[in-house]
């Protein structure tokens, strides 16, 4: 008999959502292994905390389905548990007339994805909603929001703990072997190396998920699981502008924008930020450089001024950087989330999650639901 029914590798928000759900199914039989000394130390804590409505993604894709469902689950959880959620909505702004057709395309895509409340608005209505924003029209998405992601994650950790899950920090998986009816995981924790067995494994290791896939014998290139680190940086806007925005402000994606485009967002205290940009990076000997390069100031100023004419160069200060786990090595290529149960590769009960980039925070609880379904069918 295995030590645990399920081992989850990674205590980011998706791993924790899986832990909360699966520990309810197998009380006291779920283990979470996290290589850092606490929860949510990578992508889950280095993002804009935006709750996405689910507008952009192809209808029927896992990103669309889990974003829309995950947002509803997240909003209910926040309401039930008192987790701070700013139901601020978002405007996707067309800066020039030639971008207006793109708003209609986004409206149709969002409606096809079952996103609530979408509406194309004209320049006058945009001025009423966001007086400090420049644009000739916008898509208004009232379902978009900002969440306190740390409190959300802490609540998921607490729910897992309530159901008796064991969360072990500073524990890195360095080897995997198929064992009797499950898997043996070799784990280092400080100077010690131990082995633990689990009947099922959920690989929610974020940027390390492809490495863990390799350990269990999956050809990550053949499977399409190789991940590429894509750095995004944020610049904070001077506190004198706090509360200047009351809604998230995104640009309509332009052909030359690799992602959704640098947008304006804010935290619960009203502090404003611009970001993120989109730069593929490779890890050096000391990992990936997460500093915010001063050289990017002009790029952020230009992007910000397209939306906010009041923004001045001295308003910007380097803020933070994070990494996305992308399944494509270049901009403008699209891949869906992958949540795969690996019986077909001879690995029954092993579930791989790769490419869990935005909207992963929004989708986390729905992704956990999908993981539960995949395990049920294995």
């Amino acid at each position: 008999m295995s030590d645990y029914e399920v081992a989850i590798v990674g205590a980011g928000v998706v791993g924790l959502a899986c832990a909360a759900r699966l520990a309810a199914r197998w009380p006291g039989r779920v283990l979470v292994l996290e290589r850092h000394e606490g929860i949510c130390r990578e992508a889950s804590s280095r993002n804009s905390e935006v709750v996405h409505a689910g507008i952009y993604y192809p209808t029927g894709s896992l990103k669309a389905l889990t974003c829309v469902r995950g947002r509803r689950m997240l909003v209910k959880r926040c309401r039930d548990l008192g987790i701070p959620l700013l139901a601020c909505g978002k405007v996707i702004v067309a800066s020039a007339a030639d971008q207006l057709p793109a708003l209609e395309e986004l409206l149709a895509q969002g409606r096809a994805n079952d996103v609530e409340g979408l509406e194309v608005i004209d320049a006058e209505r945009l001025r009423q909603l966001e007086p400090g924003t420049r644009g000739v029209g916008a898509l208004w998405s009232p379902a978009s929001a900002v969440v306190d992601s740390h409190q959300l994650a802490a609540s998921l950790e607490a729910e897992a703990a309530h159901h008796g899950a064991d969360l072990v920090f500073g524990a890195e998986v360095v080897g995997v072997e198929p064992a009797d009816g499950g898997y043996g995981l070799t784990v280092t924790q400080g100077e010690e190396t131990t082995t633990v067995s689990a009947a099922r494994v959920v690989n929610a290791a974020g940027l390390g998920a492809d490495t863990l896939s390799t350990m269990v014998g999956i050809d990550i290139d053949g499977a399409g699981y190789r991940q590429y680190a894509c750095k995004g940086t944020w610049w904070s806007i001077a506190p004198r502008h706090n509360h200047r925005l009351s809604r998230l402000v995104y640009p309509v994606g332009r052909a030359e924008d690799p992602g959704l485009g640098i947008h304006g967002c804010f935290d619960a205290a009203g502090g404003m930020r611009l970001g993120p940009d989109f730069v593929f990076v490779e890890a050096g000997d000391d990992g990936v450089d997460l500093s915010v390069p001063e050289a990017a100031r002009a790029k952020f100023l230009a992007a910000g001024q397209r939306l906010f004419p009041w923004l001045e160069a001295e308003d910007l200060s380097p803020d933070m950087a994070g990494l996305r786990a992308k399944l494509v090595p270049a901009p403008k290529q699209w891949r869906d989330f992958v949540v795969a149960e690996e019986s077909a590769r001879g690995l029954p009960g092993w579930v791989t999650l790769v490419g869990i980039e935005s909207p992963g925070l929004t989708a986390a609880m729905a992704l956990a639901e999908v993981v539960g379904q995949r395990l049920s069918s294995s």
């Binding site: 000394e37 606490g38 039930d80 008192g82 950790e157 729910e159």
Partner: protein, 152 residues
Amino acid sequence: MRLFEANAAAHEVLEGLLMEVLGAAVDGEIGRARAHMAQLREAFETHLAVEEARTLPLLRDLGGPLVKLAVIIDGDHRIVDRSLNAVSALLEDVGDDGPAARAAVLGKIEVFSKLKTVLEHHGVREQEDVYTPLDHRFPELEWTEELLLPKP
């Protein structure tokens, strides 16, 4: 004293004792840190007994979303319990008073951070979402020694 007023005060005591433990530990005064740790453990057990005897059953009985809140509060308690164990184990491992112990503590400061974070989050959660509304709803509930008696 009203029950939920007492519970809120208990949180302040827990956070205060943790700062005493942390302060002594980073000064390399491990004996003093262990003594404060024993007080912290005892204060937590007392608080936990009251919460399990009265607060959590009340939330479950009220039903609806409060049942889920009781799950999270109980989970917080378990994480606090584990985090206390981790801090106790660290204080046992680092040896006796002195610079070496101080360096060992500083090298593992995340163990304290985890406990501090969960206590703070838990305190805010209970104050805003549990104690204030329940105190308003059940102002007659008093803290009594009987709450500390072992359950059958």
